[in-house]
Symmetry: C2
Subunit: 259 residues, 2 copies
DNA sequence: GCAAAAGTGTTCGCGTTACACCCATGC
DNA sequence: GCATGGGTGTAACGCGAACACTTTTGC
């Protein structure tokens, strides 16, 4: 085992046959980016994910894993789908991955029973602020941000997981804290709009968008004076970034109403 | 082991530490009802649920279990939340349940390692038609329909699971096939409205409701002549009951749109 | 100076809401 | 016959969609 072995840390002390995978979504340079990890020795790309410790809540496991990979705490995290098909993973790949992490045959045999078997995985997505991320040293060469259109072929059904995550985000977009999570504290409306446009995959009317956002009462225009010379474009900030963890409450911020 | 042991059927051949629980929702006599099972010998109420076989997709396990308990195939089924807290279940109860199913101490010890341990469970809800249900003989005395306001204290966090299911249904109510799944083929609009009212927990305007439903194009008025004497109330049927399994497509039938 | 992009205001149409009246049913 | 409940129509309102014009920025 080497320094990359955080993937395996205490695997024998983890809940069997179950994993979590996370689609970490961020916005940088007018593009939506997804965090992908690489298993270096066999060149396999996969979503950041891992196992749940025996004495750990499933949600907490995801927070732990993401803290480890991105340095972020207090992120917006949400379950979106359970992937439980029997044949979702080619177990030969698991075998290869296992082999890539250890030359100790006996140890490998030991881990096989934990890892080379059917896994059920819970899919989460996270909305994060690109600027606040600091990839830990040990992962520098293992992490990569892919824009949605450039995602390579991934391990197992991880391409499907991303697809479903984006699908879910699109469905719930009106109830997600897109801007407050993914943009810097100070931002301009064209950037806010770009996030939505990239996520939805379509252009939005600039004028209607700004009207809606401003009238929502969720953002506030910042004073021009601060250190700026040019008045345009205007800068805004979000009011009340009240994110309680494990809160899917923002989904029903809008009354469910048949009428 | 006795005839009640379907709960345990092949437990050692099931995916470890993982279960599925289903909130089966139906409509009968102007009330929303939830199906609850009873573990007779210790008088413990619980949601219908079970384990996933090693060679079985998770979704399929739920279909199998519900077919077993309600006789229904082709029902509308949807994942809604994973319950993964460490302490969600008091394992003493699992022990008691196990004991209630077997007097064979050795067998009990054998099953303990599978059952008296931490479980992660996936919550599903199902929307079913009360009239099509035939509770199998062996479950007759173990199944009960509770109206939402009368649900007793349940096993583990099952009360929470129901709460979250209803919450989810309310959020997604506009995208769920409520009527076509929960009502008989021939139905009257007051019943359709009652289903929505019961689920949402609030009254809806009768006139606006009917206008919306009729103009939706999803229902069709039936001819009066058939065998009826009285023209009022009118009977309707749903057009195209096109339910593909594993389809959460109906959620995004409405375009996700920021505008 | 001119193209590209940011800011703002107005109109239109449709869907939701609110509300009144008529008819059928069944004690 | 009267209360209950079901069926239908109309007017007001509000929000989203469509759209035009001005100002600022930066090469």
């Amino acid at each position: 085992m080497n320094t990359e072995n955080t993937f395996w840390e205490g695997l024998n002390d983890c809940h069997p046959g179950f994993s979590v995978d996370c689609v970490v979504v961020t916005y940088h340079k007018r593009e939506i980016k997804i965090l992908i990890n690489k298993v270096n020795r066999i060149g396999q790309w996969m979503l950041p994910g891992g196992f749940v410790k025996n004495n750990e809540d499933v949600d907490d496991a995801v927070y732990r894993i993401l803290k480890d990979r991105t340095g972020l705490k207090n992120i917006y995290l949400q379950q979106f789908h359970l992937f439980g098909a029997v044949n979702r993973t080619d177990l030969n790949i698991n075998n290869k991955i296992l082999e890539s992490f250890s030359d100790d045959l006996q140890q490998m045999e030991y881990y096989k029973k934990y890892f080379v078997s059917r896994f059920i995985t819970m899919g989460y997505f996270a909305l994060v602020n690109f600027e606040k991320i600091t990839l830990p040293e040990k992962y520098q060469d293992l992490c990569h941000w892919f824009s949605l259109s450039e995602i390579p072929h991934l391990y197992s059904d991880h391409n499907l997981i991303i697809e479903k995550a984006i699908q879910t985000i699109r469905q719930q977009i009106n109830y997600l804290p897109i801007g407050s999570q993914m943009l810097p504290e100070k931002f301009i409306l064209p950037d806010l709009r770009a996030v939505y446009e990239e996520l939805l995959g379509k252009k939005l009317d600039r004028r209607n968008f700004q009207k809606k956002m401003i009238s929502s009462g969720k953002i506030q225009r910042l004073d021009v004076s601060e250190d700026k010379i040019t008045p345009y474009p205007h800068y805004y900030k979000f009011l009340q970034q009240n994110l309680s963890l494990n809160d899917i409450g923002s989904i029903d911020s809008k009354e469910s109403s048949i009428f």
